[in-house]
Amino acid sequence: MKELIYECIYIVVPGFYKMCLHRKSKYENIIFLILLLFGLFFIIGRFTPTVKLIEDFVYRFSYSSLNLTNSVFCFTENFVNDIKSVIHIRYENITYKQKNQELTDKLRNYEAMVKECDDLSKLLKLTKIENTISVFARLSIKGPNEWYKWFIINKGENDGLYNELPVLMFNKKRNALCAVGRIIETYASSSKVVLITNPAYALPVKIKDRNINCLAEGFGSNLLRITYIPHYADVKAGDEIVVSELSSVFQKDTPVGVITDVLEGESSVDFKTAKAKVFFEADNVYEAIICVPETKICGK
């Protein structure tokens, strides 16, 4: 610290002394004064056209050379980035190749295991579990007055679809796939789907966790008419209905809807009727999921 102070004193004092006494420095002082005046003139008259003109001139003079240099640096930067990208892609490619090799090996093992599993199943005479493949389709046509009757999807025979396949949709609130309808007509790249709410449709259902079988009939709205509920069955609003084992289209226990109202003694003495609200909302159905048995797809 002391040294620093001494250093300051050594610099300031002789400098000041020199500045006062140095006679040779008269040109320096004159130039300084001229430049000082110029600087002050620029500051004071910075809004005047003359200073603006000087500013423009300096800018254009400096800009052209600096812009050229800047362009060179930008080009260099881009070039370096390109090289970096090439190296990065090369490394990525190597990694993916390794990953691909690993997955190929795993697939080979998997195929061997599947074959072994098939052989064992045959030997033990076990029923083979059928896997399904989900085909995602978008709605292409929906009748304005028949929203709860049918719609057409943009997937057809080319995607492995055929008649009688179940159509489901994802219910975000329930975080589950729920029944929508089934395919009744299939074309090359489109299919017609009849909804479970169609009055011509009847779906075997049951009350969830209670094994009470009944039938869900379409109503032409977002409500289903649940018929053939045994009179003794304790069914109340809020009970969930799912697809029963009797359905040949949907998998059992696929969610269908929820009972909103029970109408006792309306149709007959032995059975009662209820109304149920479907889980899928016809207004918001834009995408449908079709479950296709894997063997059918493979065999295509």
């Binding site: 250093e7 430049l35 600087g39 640096f73």
Partner: protein, 164 residues
């Protein structure tokens, strides 16, 4: 003639460093003030006129590129060039501590003058605004720390020319 060409090359080179490299090499917007170091070097090397003229030229270029008051940097760099040329002789130029002191003083003069002119022209709002900003101190520290290296390189350049 050689001196003029050399100074022009110095001008182009350091303009490039300050105005273009600063954009790419600045860390958190902090980049050393190379122009101040060059002016300080010229001043310390008894090249007072060069220091003033180069300071004015550098300042004018910087002013043209910035949106600040036109002429403020030209004025400040001219004053710094003159003051350093007057106060400091080449007797102290080789000492690192002297270089630190000179460049630090140049920084302080620069920012004080800068704020003073701002205060006079724009009013009290901008008074001492630079000194409340952390980046100002960081920039000053970086400039001071890098000064000996730049002094050494410029010294080599000028001394070699002197030997030739």
């Amino acid at each position: 003639m050689w001196k003029i060409i050399c100074n022009l090359l110095l001008y182009v080179f350091f303009s490039m460093i300050q105005f273009i490299f600063g954009k790419y090499l600045g860390i958190f917007g902090i980049f050393p003030n190379f122009i101040l170091i060059v002016i300080a070097y010229l001043g310390v090397s008894k090249k007072t006129i060069d220091a003033q003229l180069m300071g004015f030229l550098f300042g004018l270029t910087w002013d043209a590129f910035s949106i600040d008051i036109f002429g403020i940097k030209a004025l400040m760099f001219t004053i710094i060039g003159y003051l350093i040329g007057k106060f400091c002789g080449d007797f102290y130029a080789n000492k690192i501590l002297s270089q630190f002191v000179v460049v630090f003083s140049a920084n302080v003069i620069y920012w004080l003058g800068f704020d003073l002119i701002h205060f006079i022209i724009l009013g009290s709002e901008s008074y001492m605004a630079s000194f409340t900003d952390v980046s100002f101190y960081m920039e000053a520290v970086v400039t001071v720390l890098i000064a000996p290296t730049v002094f050494h390189i410029l010294g080599m350049l000028y001394n070699r020319r002197a030997v030739k």
